[in-house]
Symmetry: C2
């Protein structure tokens, strides 16, 4: 009898309902760019991040004096000082602060997952760190991709596939779902050059049109930080 | 300016809502086994198939004297004579008949797609025939996978990827969605041996447990028929 733990990849928050019951840890992934921005913010000293789903909530926090980021469809929402570019968080003004963030897909995914026993933030930026941490936990893991407005996206799925591949390779985890098997195949195909592989991806095209190629390159470069942001009482803090 | 038509792959009926607007032809795919069974039934002379979603409807047709198949979770529903094994349709009793079929995923997918301008039935069994026919139509094509109870599945996605790859290779079609790009990668990885590639797939495991390995081998063997079943007034007939 196998005592291996499960690691599965769910391609979008909309499909989470079909997966959610048996997982103790949910890894929220939004490579371009929410979870990459979050990892970067923690790497640069942010104390905590309050993820909010609506612009109204974000505005309310701004009026209370918080530093608040808001992004929709790849652009900074009018009236806010920053969006979800990781570069905007490489700034000393954030050090030690509690900040607020609302993004098109990423914060919505966190909202969906928030009743899981444990929610953590994954991206290529903290790939090795989070994979090793998950291996140590020895709990059933679901990688929950944010997708793009309800649809599958490549970059999140590949990141989920990378985590699943790491855990399964240890011999201590297994994947049963077809989505996880597909994600691992896509990761193995992509890992030689994430940037090249994702050349044709729809979201990359979308961001390239917004002149965000530097953001994309950064977000697709693994292991630039060892932070592991976790959700505690509706705030992201360092694990 | 490109005048190429679109061919995209949607991984499950649940995601169809995010895709459905711009496609003139929807190819419904349920490789294991509904659309494979349908193709086989037409190859063996069935005149038409009425797809129904509920067991109640199926029973009502049975009481009226129709030949009715019903399958749930891989098995024939009690009280019906056949389910969705292609082998059960290799029988002279079906020749020239109008029959009724209700399956776990496939008939539900047809129901979802039925308001599209044109709905056709795809599987590995009629892969070349349907791909060539789609190429001739020169319309925007969505390959709609049935998945498994709301989740992504490998065999339908690979079949959709095969159709997309064929059409894009012609130079007359293009794919923009990440799901279509992923499906094509999975197809190119799988095409050397569908059976080997799908060894680990969840649905194959499920059917193997039901001793349906022969069914699986048959359903994964491309180009055993040239039939193109299309939906007309809620019935499937030969194109």
């Amino acid at each position: 009898m196998s005592v291996r733990k499960l690691v599965e990849v769910c391609f979008s928050p909309e499909e989470y309902v079909y997966y959610k019951n048996e997982f103790e840890i949910v890894v929220v992934i939004d490579v371009l760019r929410a979870t990459s921005a979050m990892c970067t913010a923690f790497e640069y000293g942010v104390k905590s991040i309050i993820p909010v789903t609506s612009i109204e909530e974000a505005l309310a926090y701004k009026e209370k004096g918080y530093l608040v980021g808001a992004e929709r469809k790849g652009e900074i929402v009018e009236g806010f000082d920053f969006g979800n570019s990781p570069y905007s968080y490489m700034n000393e003004i954030f050090r030690g602060k509690e900040i607020v963030l609302s993004t098109t897909n990423g914060t919505r995914t966190i909202e969906q997952a928030k009743n899981a026993k444990q929610v953590v933030i994954g991206s290529f930026l903290n790939l090795d760190a989070i994979s090793k941490w998950l291996l140590e936990q020895q709990k059933n893991v679901l990688c929950l991709c944010s997708g793009w407005q309800g649809k599958f996206n490549l970059e999140d799925s590949i990141c989920g596939g990378a985590i699943a591949d790491y855990l399964v390779s240890s011999g201590l985890f297994q994947s049963n779902e077809d989505s996880s098997i597909a994600a691992k195949y896509l990761f193995l195909e992509a890992e030689k050059s994430y940037f090249g592989f994702l050349k044709a991806s729809s979201h990359r095209r979308r961001l390239r049109n917004l002149n965000l190629n530097e953001d994309i390159k950064y977000c697709l470069t693994p292991n630039q930080t060892t932070v592991i942001p976790v959700l505690k009482e509706n705030k992201l803090v360092l694990q």
